[in-house]
Every structure is written in C-alpha cells, then in structure tokens.
Symmetry: C2
Subunit: 354 residues, 2 copies
C-alpha cells in the first residue's frame, strides 16, 4: 500500500516571537545553526520513506507562498491551503479526503511541521513499524515518546498490553500537574503524546464518519470537488462551516482499537526559546550564540543576533533575540510569558509587530 | 572680581556605550528623561552665578560642532578646542591663559561637564563660598563631597583644621580599597574628590609656573597668541608638545594652601549605566524605562529604548540600551565590563561602533 505523509503546518508559534510573526510562524523559521527551516527538516527526514509527490502540507492559505519558497521540489497541488484555522480534525479530514481521491486507500502519516528529531534512522524505523501495523489492520496508531522527565506541558498516552510492535492504548490524558506527571513517569505505563499518527485513510475516515459526522461530510464534499473548477468555492464554504476540533478530542479519546509505538529518537517539540540551547551546540560557558555578538562573561545565555551588534555583559540564564523591529530580552524562567508581549501588542493594535 | 567658569568637556565616557560613542561622548548625551544633555545641564545650573559670556568649554576640537549645537547661546570664542587630549593640567592651563588675556585676573571655577547635581541652590551657595574664599586669598579651593558610603571608585580629600567656610586640605589620596574606604568614612575626615576647583587665575598660574613650568610656558604662549592670526598654529604646536598630566597629580598633590569646602548637593558623577536608575524616577517595580518598551514581570531593570520595540520579560537587575546599530544587555554587576566590549571592537577594527 502507498505511504503518504500529511504535514500539519498551520500553527502560529507565538512562543518564538519576535522571530516568529503572523506572517512567518515557527515552522518556517530556522532555529538551528545549519540554516534549514523546521518544515524543510521535516520533509527532508521523511524522504527515505515517502516520495515527495506523496507529501502533503496542510497550512493556512496565507503561508502558501512560504511553503513554495521553502520546498521548491514539492508539487504545488500538494499544498492544501486552509481558508481558515479549525484545529487538527478538519485539517486531517481535508487531507484524508484529498488522498482518498488520489489513491482510494493509502497509509497516511500525520506529522507536525515544527518538531525536531535527533536520531533520524530510529525515527524512520519507528514509522516503518507503525506503517506495517496500520497496513496489518491496526485501526489508529500513534507514536508515543518515551518520557525522560515529568513534563507538565504535554498530554500523555496510557498504554496497556503489548501487541506485536505496538501497545494497546488505554486512554489519552490531558497535561498533568507535576505530582501526576511524576506518577506517570514512575508507572512506566505512560508515553508523551507527540501528535504523530499513522493510519489508513479508510480507517480515519470511518472513525470520522462515526465520531464527527459533520466534519466528515464536509471533508467528503471537499474531496469530491478536488481538481474541479468549483474546488476553491467548496473549500471556503466547507471550511468556514467547520467547527474547531482537535483530532485528540474528536477521535483519539473516543475511538477503539488505538495502538501506540514508543519512540526514542531524540524528539523535541521546540516549544519555546529554551529549546534553542538544547538543539544546538553550546560553548564552554553553555552559551548558544549566533550572529554578530560580543559576549563578556555571560553564561548559559542564548543569543540570536540580527543585523545589529548584540553585546551581552555578565548575563546568566538570559535569552536575547534581535530582529529588525524588535528585540526580546527574556529570563529563562519566563519564556512562557513571551505570549503576554504579543497580547499587549494586539491590545495596542500594533499588528505590524505581531 | 569677575567670576568665570571653565567646563571640562573633553572626555570619552566609554562606560555609556552604546549610547556614548567616540563622536558623541557622555557629556553630549541626555541620560535623564527631560531630554537635556549633561553639558546643557552643567551650563544651565551655573547661570545664576556666571554670565554666559564668561563660561568657557574646553573640549576636543572634534566636539566643537556638538558644543555649538547644544549651547547655541554660548559665544563661539568661548569654546576652547584642544587639538589633542593631554589630561586636565594642560586643559586648565590653556583656559587660565585665555582668561588671563581677557580679565588680567578673575575667579575661575573648574567644573566637569558630565556630573549631575540634585540640589542646585545648595550647589550655587557652596560655589559662592568657594569664590569668596578664593577672592579673600585662599590659594586653591576644591569642592569636596561628603561621602554617603565607602566608594572605592573615587579619590578622597583628607581635610584638617576649619578655616572660615573652608577646611585646610591635608592631602589628596588615590582610590582606596574597601577597608580603607570604610576607615575614611568612619574617620569623618575624608571627602570625595569631585574634580571641582575654584581659584583665581593668577593663583593657579603661579602654582603651575612653580610645579609644572613646561606646561605653564606653553600655556603662556597660547594665551599670548589668542585672538591673533597665528593662534591655531601656536595652539597645535604647544598642545602636541604638552605631556599628559592631571591637575591632581601635577598641582593638588604638591601645592600648599589648599582648602576644601564640603558639599552636600546631591552630586552624582554618573559613572556607569547604574546611575540611570539613581538619577531618574523608577516605577513600582524599581524599573527605569524609556522609549518603546514592553516589560512583563521585570524588576530593578533599566531600559533605554531606541527606535525598535524592546520586550523585557522576567528580568531582574539587567540594563538594556538599544541604539540603531548595537544593543547592550548587561548585568548590573558587570557595568564596568562595558569597556571590554569597546576593547574587543577596537581589536576587531570595528571603529564605526566605538
């Protein structure tokens, strides 16, 4: 059976302000010193497994040009441009309906566009196992990440009995508090929910028909209109009519026969500026520095320079990000509060900076 | 007797980089929210005591235009432009010789251009006492500052017997270490050396003739050439021939009949970026913020914004100074290390940033 990949690239990535902006969210940024953007890396690491013509990017219509620029080898028709954001369930339904038109059935990998993978061979092998499991009739397969610490910012997957290369999923749970996360870790029965899914197109569409028939019906109409002159009108009409729904709430927490494969391939969701020192090499003082920077006696400090000189003197555990029109200076303890800057900018109607 | 003032404005002020640059040192910057530059404030606060036509600015020739711009009411001939920097003794000798040509004798206030005074009435009254003492024959009078803590960055004046409004100076001492500074403070017999002097032109010239005859002779030749066509040539020739000498080493540590008047007028030498929060009003979280800044949860932080947005998130005891071509982010413990940034820039031959 054909293997296809759907890369979800509609996110806004507010936590990477001021580099990420409404017109260039995180997946279109390079946060590593090699200069490749997140989405370029995501596509490149899939190529041992999926042909370029079978890779689909679902993104906001506003980012179509960015995708074309950054992925010039991708067929233009593989960019599935959402007229508006409706969370992951309509996004996946749209992609599944389009792939159904092309292949009738196929394995479909659903992957975020803005995560990093340290060990790509292990990643590919893990996906291969998931593909095989889906082909052999395991309804929905999700890649779980073996936790390394009690993270409270992720959802968890509680797994049960081993079943071939996979484990049966008992339930999906929301982001826990710290004591609960510690219990999860100690139990050995919980994995992080990475948002990576593997299933046959017919499997996910069958579950959508059962658990979210409204979205399913809209997606079918979109799929039928694909490659016809009326497509754009249908897409806009159906998408605006969709309610916002995540695939986790809408399907994964309701469906049966869900399986997980534990992955340990150096996964990083690159969730905030703190990630930059994790995913790049640091100097002897544990600084990560790029761009035109003079550092005097700074330690454990991340500096992403822009066009101007950044001088960092005697800093500890600080993040500096310089851009043409804004500079962020942030304590490492406060990276989640970067969102509050954006909130203030919106309130002040300074959209050019958001 | 006429009272004149000589304002020394030749300094470079490296500690205020990146706002201070070779082409715009500290005395020509505004570091207070009222927008007035240091030298403008220095001149303005003298006007109750000295006529504008009797105020002289000794500065590097490169800064003549800056002085003209910032002090449009100052007679152009009162800008004494040094062809090169030779420390304070040649600077004061030059000014004394010029004033001698004009008035034969006069009281001469010698004042830094880059300090701040909180209580200007008290300052003026203190200077009046010093002027009267000089007129009544006290040879050299220096304004000492009553210390408020054991500062190790200033020289001290050890004073003895009271003598009218003044005290006899026992000796000038160099910057002490902390235990010594504490002893000085506890003794009640030491004042900070503020670099403010009051004397008659004839007094200082007589002492220069005795203790630094080479500089005296050069200054006399400069004075004789003043307002003649050959002045510029004489000035350049004599100034390049001067050795570098401070008035503290060259005169104050050698001369007799030195007196001091203790001043308590909110003096601040504005010695580093730390001064900005002292000399301006801070907010409830003890931040001083100017310019286009969004601060989220920052405390005791000084931010001098430039043309771009500065976002400060969760910072404590940090100084941020933004300019068009460089941004400084500095721990409050490390403000003295700003000089090291300049040293690195010079080493890298990036003079445009120095």
């Amino acid at each position: 059976m054909k293997t296809t990949a759907v890369i979800m690239a509609g996110g806004r990535g507010e936590r990477f302000w001021p580099k990420s902006r409404n017109n260039r969210p995180k997946q279109f940024l390079s946060l590593t010193s090699d200069g490749e953007t997140m989405i370029q890396k995501t596509v490149k690491r899939l190529l041992p497994l999926v042909d370029m013509e079978d890779i689909y990017i679902v993104t906001n219509a506003a980012y179509t040009e960015l995708v074309l620029d950054q992925l010039p080898d991708l067929p233009k028709e593989n960019i599935l441009a959402e007229p508006c954001a409706r969370n992951t369930a309509p996004c996946i339904a749209f992609a599944a309906a389009v792939i159904k038109q092309k292949y009738d059935d196929a394995v479909m990998l659903v992957l975020p566009s803005d995560h990093l993978i340290g060990y790509e061979d292990i990643y590919i092998n893990t996906l291969k196992k998931a593909i095989r499991a889906a082909e052999q009739g395991k309804n929905l397969v999700t890649i779980g990440i073996t936790p390394t610490y009690p993270e409270t910012g992720y959802g968890y997957i509680n797994f049960g009995k081993e079943c071939g290369d996979t484990y049966e999923v008992e339930r999906f749970v929301e982001k826990p508090d710290l004591p609960t996360a510690k219990e999860y870790l100690a139990s050995g029965k919980y994995l992080w929910n990475s948002g990576m899914f593997v299933w046959k197109v017919t499997s996910i569409l069958a579950d959508m028909k059962e658990f979210m028939p409204d979205i399913y019906d809209g997606a079918v109409r979109i799929g039928e209109a694909f490659n016809t002159p009326g497509f754009e009108d249908v897409l806009v009409k159906e998408f605006y009519a969709f309610r916002s729904e995540s695939v986790d709430f809408g399907i994964m927490e309701k469906a049966d026969n869900i399986y997980t494969i534990p992955g340990s391939f150096g996964w990083d969701d690159v969730g905030s500026w703190l990630a930059v020192e994790r995913i790049n090499e640091t100097d002897d003082d544990k600084n990560y520095i790029e761009g035109d920077v003079i550092s005097i006696g700074s330690e454990r400090t991340t500096i992403c320079g822009g066009k101007r000189l950044v001088a960092a003197v005697g800093l500890e555990d600080i993040i500096i990000v310089d851009t043409d029109d804004a500079v962020l200076v942030c304590s490492k303890n406060s990276t989640q509060d970067v969102k509050k800057v954006i909130a203030q900018l919106k309130e002040a109607k300074r959209e050019e900076l958001v």
